[in-house]
Amino acid sequence: MASAKSGKYYRLDGLSVLVADDNRFVRTILVTVLRGLGVGRVLQAENGEEATAILDVSTQIQGASDIDIVFADHLMAPVDGLELLKWVREHDHDKLKFMPYIMMSGEADENAVRMARDGGVTEYLAKPMSVANVASRLVAIVDKPRPFIRAPGYIGPDRRRQTLPYAGDDRRVMTGRRVTLDGAQAPIEDEALPPVGQAVPEVAAEEAGGAVGAEAAPPSPETLG
């Protein structure tokens, strides 16, 4: 039987997670779940506004422990989960901009799910909450990181998670730029972008009319949640 020492099981004690939810009891349960799973540091914010303050501090204080993941509820005030997500993705500091962001929401508001996806959410935690689905979102973030896409009107993880067969011409495959962020060195390479489902395509600026990009791809249900 494998143990944590064998490397099969993840050790979560080095992780730092921020939980933002204005429902105190829901927040308490999520914190209990995360601590039970072994997450080493769990910070709490009563709403999106408080979360922005905590996250800002984490970028400004030298030597402060990084927050690795944000769990945020969609419905909270002031500053709801979507507004907080937008703030994170537009932040100047890379530590926040590229931070894994898990949005928690019920399935009732399908539009909210789409807005979260288009706002650059990393994973979606569909309510009702369970230990299993919290654990599965954590594992998904570690095991299936997606490259970030920066396009007109969008910054966030690649929204397409799978390659689907398509018989027609793929007009979305064009030349783009691949950037590798790895410490201070950031080699920049030009290349033809891979087919749909493996990378985000692009159009040249003059063709784009300034308003298209990755978001031009029609939403597919399999990418929701």
Binding site: Y9, L34, D158, V200
Partner: protein, 176 residues
């Protein structure tokens, strides 16, 4: 870490999309073999489940409080037509909390009823009396679940409640 990807972007006629490959720092933090999926120790999942189970009594008490608050907001929505939307938004928010944790503590019907009700409260541009009637039926059903401490699918009573609520929703949709 510094984002160097702004170099030369954007400009008319230049590429306008970047794929930014990020180092997987989380994997480095949690361990696991590179390139291979890992998992969370089942013992940790059991531990988390036990910790949550210890809060069952607190959940029951909180649900009763939430339902009372929800009922009050709903009554206000019925009376105060001018601010009906605001009151129903409060109903939606409280119901969302009930739905979030019901199943966590084995109250599947509670989560299901709250979830079904919220489908009718997402779009509140013009809440009709018929909608209020259906919402009220869902709240009544949630009261029954809490009063009788109905867990899981609730057996025959649970099925009867589920069926009658589905019928009420179908009638409302037909009226729309």
């Amino acid at each position: 870490m510094t984002d160097k990807s702004d170099k030369g972007l954007p400009g008319k006629g230049t590429r306008v999309v970047e794929i930014i490959e990020l180092p997987n720092k989380l994997r480095a933090k949690v361990g696991g073999a590179a390139g291979k999926p890992g998992q969370i120790d089942p013992a940790a999942i059991d531990r988390a489940s036990r910790h949550v189970a210890r809060m069952a009594e607190a959940h029951q008490a909180q649900t009763r409080i939430d339902l009372t608050t929800l009922q009050a907001a709903f009554e206000q929505a019925k009376r105060d037509t001018e601010h009906r939307v605001q009151h129903l938004r409060k109903v939606y928010k409280i119901s969302d909390g009930i739905m979030t944790l019901g199943r966590t503590f084995g109250y599947n019907l509670l989560s299901d009823f709250a979830n079904s009700m919220n489908h009718f409260l997402v779009d509140l541009e013009n809440p009709t009396d018929a909608l209020l009637t259906v919402v009220g039926l869902h709240i009544d059903a949630m009261h029954v679940v809490v009063r009788d401490d109905i867990k899981g699918d609730g057996g025959e009573l649970g099925q009867a409640l589920t069926k009658s609520l589905a019928l009420a929703r179908a009638k409302l949709i037909h009226k729309r």
